[in-house]
Point group: C2
Chain length 424, copies 2
């Protein structure tokens, strides 16, 4: 694995964007520039999908200032996709895709491949690594972790997570001030729906808004804890009885004890066949208004929470960039088939480093909130979670501003000349 | 009107909070401290409702640092209400309320009364002014403008408005980057629902996110323009055909040509008898998915947008404080029965001042977006609007931070001793 490999680099992004995934790409590009064995630096447009179409971007053609600007630019600057090379469900298609990918790698002498994404993307990276070995194509493959859901195993946390919970916690504080100031005898309730799918990490993060026991959020509904309607309504009633208002944070993926999702719309599936979520808050509001006759409003932050660079965590952005840099250093040092992971050295003061984990340990394994990080009644994460999460939101990304709004970097995206016939 | 009036001051807040209404209260308190004719400085807890209950707060007992901190603290620090003294619908109750208010004013020697709020609140202030004259109670009454909806007449704009459109425009930019980076051949759409009731000022403000013609938002649905489904779907299709994605901003109060609101839930009314809005985005998403078969996600910012101090406009906060100060100076100078208004002196560079407008001109008059500030096809505000709105979002409020989150001011709220029997 330690032959002096020389050739071109290809980096791509996959899955849902985050506020800091571009910082990882900037880390890859900037670190790559420091190694002579890396010749051209290419980006794959829209992840694997663009690579299959031989849509490569010449990143050496971008201004250094633009690359640095990616560190405060949300979303996926190279474009992303939810395309999966699925050997289980579509083995024939997957084999064709794999052949095509290696044609593209060979045509452009790709010797260093980096894929930033979550569980599905690490699975794709793992398969590409295995195929490279099987096909005898000398190429180093390293996964770069990325997911607001924070559900990748083996890494202390995932780049993208700190920023989403920082923004969400500030939003909960602000909404609580608003609703609390309208608190009159009638009482009122506000339900804030947040992302995270089946994992409660994002919902749990809202607890950072709580500085006093009576502070919001008063209830956090985690997908890990079965949703019991009577118990929930009783807690809402108790809270409004005491404070005259109640702020509820609900994970989009909360489930009834029978496993059915509270907010799911089963008629809609995403490209990976997962059910589309996003109605939990409205369903809960109907219950509260119907059964407690309590004025209830909902907030659905949706994409706003994962794209909120204007209030991103500086710690998160630094870690995201470091993961990109570490991926390149590992590949140059001869490693392949690993994902970069974040390792916490200590919490007070917070110290961290990066390390590597075999991709085979990561792919398609989901990491959930441990039960002993949640209060006994299941309505709030406890001190163990707070100690874990608090360092991740420290510091605020400073954005350049223009006319009162953020100024984001925009890649010029010079296409690399195609050398292959179009994909079949 | 110019007798040297000496006595106590009472300030209260009413209606929905904003990110900067507390800055107006800070302006009132700080300016009051500069005038010897003002003895005690009281706050009414939860607006008129608290005053009727003789729930007054001793604001001279608060630390100067806390009062200064109100300038970056969202929501209504004194508490607010939606209670209306309604002579039209409930004349007997209104007369009782008015008697009680003047008992409270007399018991606490209130000679300067300031009420910060929107249309309904200015109407209340107007009635209190008229009653003071009719009853021969020497008291100066000045309204302080406040509404994110920006629908008060005679003032160039309303404190609270600049902050909500700054936050919303940044959010649209971020969501657009996110959705745009996922844009593949299938196309996708995101609908962002914003506040503003029947007025399109807030929805229009999202246009500030647009720097290039192809930038989001691609469509803004304004309540002033009747919603025509076919025309809208055609525009969505055209946009996704061209860009592979489409960002729609929808005002919560958009209406069909027959006047029916797209997102209204007629089964729910607020305290003023207005229908509760807030389902427009979901209704539009159903149409787009059903008729165009286009993946569509919704974002409902709700209270988050009006409470977002973490990204408030510095210009807005300065103007809000100045309105509070101007109200006190006007009252001390002998004026009563006016609302402070903002007057634009020029747009480039932006210069403004404050002036007074009789409350009788304000109460219950709604100010809508002029038709000639909207594109001919009705889907976007034009350059006239942009010139108007752009200065209002300049500068960013700097918040003190603690553990990565904003640190807001909290009043200790020392109650003023009651002198009256409880309200009948």
């Amino acid at each position: 694995m330690s032959e002096p490999l020389v050739g071109n680099l290809l980096v791509a992004q996959s899955g849902g964007p985050t506020a800091v995934i571009n910082a990882s790409i900037a880390g890859v590009i900037q670190e790559a520039g420091r190694h002579e064995c890396i010749e051209e630096i290419y980006g794959g447009a829209n992840g694997i999908l663009g690579i299959l179409n031989e849509e490569l971007l010449d990143l050496n053609d971008e201004k250094a200032k633009t690359i640095e600007g990616l560190k405060h630019t949300p979303a996926a600057a190279l474009g992303t996709c939810r395309y999966k090379v699925d050997f289980k469900k579509k083995p024939e298609k997957a084999a064709q895709d794999m052949d095509r990918l290696f044609e593209v790698f060979a045509a452009h002498n790709i010797r260093f491949f980096f894929y930033a994404g979550g569980n599905d993307s690490q699975d794709t990276a793992h398969k590409i690594h295995e195929q490279a070995v099987a096909r005898g194509w000398a190429m180093r493959v390293i996964g770069v972790p990325k997911t607001i859901d924070n559900d990748l195993p083996h890494t202390d946390h995932c780049p993208g997570y700190g920023s989403v919970i920082k923004y969400n916690a500030a939003t909960v504080m602000e909404i609580a001030a608003d609703v609390g100031s309208m608190a009159t005898d009638d009482g009122s309730c506000c339900i804030i729906e947040v992302m995270g799918r089946a994992a409660g990490w994002i919902a749990a993060g809202a607890v950072l808004a709580k500085r006093q026991p009576t502070d919001a959020p008063h209830i956090i509904l985690l997908p890990e804890i079965p949703f019991e309607e009577e118990k929930f309504l009783a807690r809402v009633k108790e809270t409004t009885g005491q404070l005259k208002y109640c702020i509820v944070v609900a994970g989009e993926g909360i489930k009834y004890p029978n496993g059915e999702e509270v907010g799911v719309d089963k008629t809609r599936l995403d490209a990976f066949g997962h059910a589309v979520l996003g109605g939990a808050a409205d369903r809960l509001a109907e219950k509260i208004q119907g059964k407690l006759n309590l004025k209830t409003r909902t907030v659905k932050l949706g994409y706003a929470q994962r794209a909120a660079a204007h209030f991103a965590s500086e710690t998160d952005a630094l870690e995201a960039a470091a993961c990109g840099e570490a991926a390149v250093r590992a590949a140059v040092a001869g490693q392949s088939g690993f994902m970069v992971k974040l390792v916490r050295l200590q919490s007070h003061p917070y110290k961290w480093t990066t390390d590597l984990q075999p991709l085979g340990d990561i792919a398609n394994v989901e990491h959930f909130l441990p039960r002993d990080w949640i209060s006994e009644d299941g309505f709030l994460p406890n001190e163990k979670f707070v100690e874990y999460a608090r360092p991740l939101i420290e510091g605020q990304l400073r954005l350049p501003m223009e006319h009162g709004l953020p100024k984001f970097a925009v890649l010029q995206k010079s296409p690399v000349e195609k050398k292959l016939p179009p994909r079949a």
